[in-house]
Symmetry: C2
Subunit: 153 residues, 2 copies
């Protein structure tokens, strides 16, 4: 822990981030009510779209879920024709999860609704405030990623 950032600041930040994450989670769940996917399935599809065709092992790691849980999740997504299992072109022993058009379309729509919600919430933010918030959150995200690498998780 550093000396610059006060303990009070950290306590407040942990609390505010916890509350904001909770609100976003509930809002995300409401949005998903109109779609044939669950919250864990949304997270998995979004990780697969952003990260490319991952293996079950890679997806488990990014998800923070057990291998068996991820396998069950992918089985259900495949049954609903949202993903398919494909062979890696370089190493045919490796199986990767590929998101199908139906899955991509759903994720695109869901993320658009999440953006619309944030747009509504930011009505009273100035351009400068939203840009500063973006910059600082981007920095926080990078620090979280590098902290994760350091700990070799």
């Amino acid at each position: 822990m550093n000396n610059d950032v006060s303990n009070k600041s950290i306590v407040e930040l942990e609390k505010t981030l916890r509350y904001i994450a909770g609100i976003i989670k509930r809002r995300g769940r409401q949005i998903l009510h109109n779609y044939p996917i669950t919250s864990p399935q949304f997270i998995a599809l979004q990780l697969l779209i952003d990260g490319g065709d991952l293996t079950i092992g890679e997806l488990s790691e990014k998800n923070g879920l057990a291998f068996s849980t991820t396998t069950d999740l992918v089985d259900r997504l495949e049954k609903n024709k949202l993903v398919e299992r494909i062979r890696d072109t370089n190493d045919r022993r490796v199986v990767r999860i590929h998101v199908l058009d139906k899955g991509k379309r759903i994720i695109k729509e869901v993320i658009k609704k999440r953006q619309d919600y944030l747009g509504d919430v930011l009505t009273n933010f100035s351009k400068e405030q939203s840009e500063t918030l973006n910059e600082l959150l981007h920095l926080l995200h990078m620090e979280m990623n590098s902290h994760r690498d350091n700990k070799n998780e």
Copy 2:
């Protein structure tokens, strides 16, 4: 949606918040590995401590979970002696959920570990940056709350 905040800014913010929330969620899950509670139980206990002794209905609303799901969750917490059901002193027909000392102690420890993690992550933040981030997230949180009230959720 307003005209000040650009669409690009909203798209970025949605994405960064989604990723940060995901990282915090996974970290939170790791921290809970050492405690006898699940993530949904952590959220419920934290809402009960911050919000006072809530009824099952109030807790369901804050949680965004079905009444029956919340009832099951509280049953498990009560069985593990983390909460108890008590009668409202003003209206004895009303049952409230009260967090017991064991539950309070666990939440305090878990939140301390989450703060320690954020303190580590913020090592490269200046005092000013962390304070600005706190202010803007606090504003975002308030706007999210007022937006929720407007929609009468």
